[in-house]
């Protein structure tokens, strides 16, 4: 079980800020594939992962990173701080 968080337009497209996901996905990209298979809104949010960033337990990571031991996964567009 992982907590999955969505921010900015990813949150808007999926329609919720976070959810608990029961998954056996080995990597982030495997989790994305599972989510995309759920519903159209996930497919729309994850259509182009080059436009997305991922954080694992609040540290920036990569889509091929393993999920073993990870409690919190966050998906969001490139950041625009400052």
């Amino acid at each position: 079980m992982v907590e999955v968080l969505y921010f900015a337009w990813v949150r808007e497209r999926i329609g919720l800020p976070k959810e608990k996901v029961e998954t056996t996905a080995a990597t982030v990209i495997d989790l994305v594939t599972e989510l995309k298979a759920r519903e159209e809104r996930y497919e729309a949010a994850f259509a182009d992962i080059s436009a997305l960033r991922v954080a694992l337990d609040q540290e920036l990571s990569d889509f091929d990173a393993p999920l073993a031991g990870v409690r919190e996964v966050a998906f969001f567009p490139p950041m625009t701080g400052g």
Binding site: A8, Q58, G81, G82
Partner: protein, 148 residues
């Protein structure tokens, strides 16, 4: 080091005056202030979203990196989130060092990294509707000059 992430306005004058006060070994203090810009008179407001928890950690990590690279007496980062109107202050950074070179370089480093490595997202609301601000390639390119 002090990192503050808050929705409320901050007092730039008071923060600047208090920063490095009493540090007689510091000969230079640099401050940068980010302001909500309305380029064409159409912006009603900006909404800034962030990732509570990760935001504070990411900024602290960037500030620690700055402290490792330059001789700094102190670092201050204040960044707001929530709804901001044109002209409002979004954020500030302050650095101090014995000589000005380190304080200037560190402030610029902090800003370059805060732009694209601190989890904030800006949405602009105009009469035409709402649009997320897209990250710019040059913001990403700006990081390459700090690689070593």
């Amino acid at each position: 080091m002090r990192v503050v992430v808050q929705p409320d306005p901050f007092d730039l004058g008071a923060e600047t005056a208090a920063f490095a006060a009493g540090r007689t070994d510091m000969g230079a203090a640099v401050t940068f202030t980010g302001i909500v810009r309305d380029s064409d008179g159409r912006l009603d407001r900006m909404e800034i979203e962030h990732y509570p928890g990760m935001t504070e950690r990411a900024i602290a990590k960037i500030a620690e990196e700055a402290q490792a690279r330059w001789s700094l007496g102190d670092v201050l980062v204040i960044h707001r989130h929530g709804t901001l109107r044109p002209g409002e202050l979004i954020m500030m950074v302050a650095t101090c060092s014995p000589h000005r070179g380190d304080a200037f370089a560190a402030a610029e480093f902090l800003m370059d990294y805060l732009k694209s490595r601190a989890p904030f997202w800006k949405k602009e609301l105009t009469a035409d509707g709402a649009a997320w601000v897209a990250a710019k390639d040059e913001d990403e390119d700006a990081l390459s000059r700090w690689s070593r």
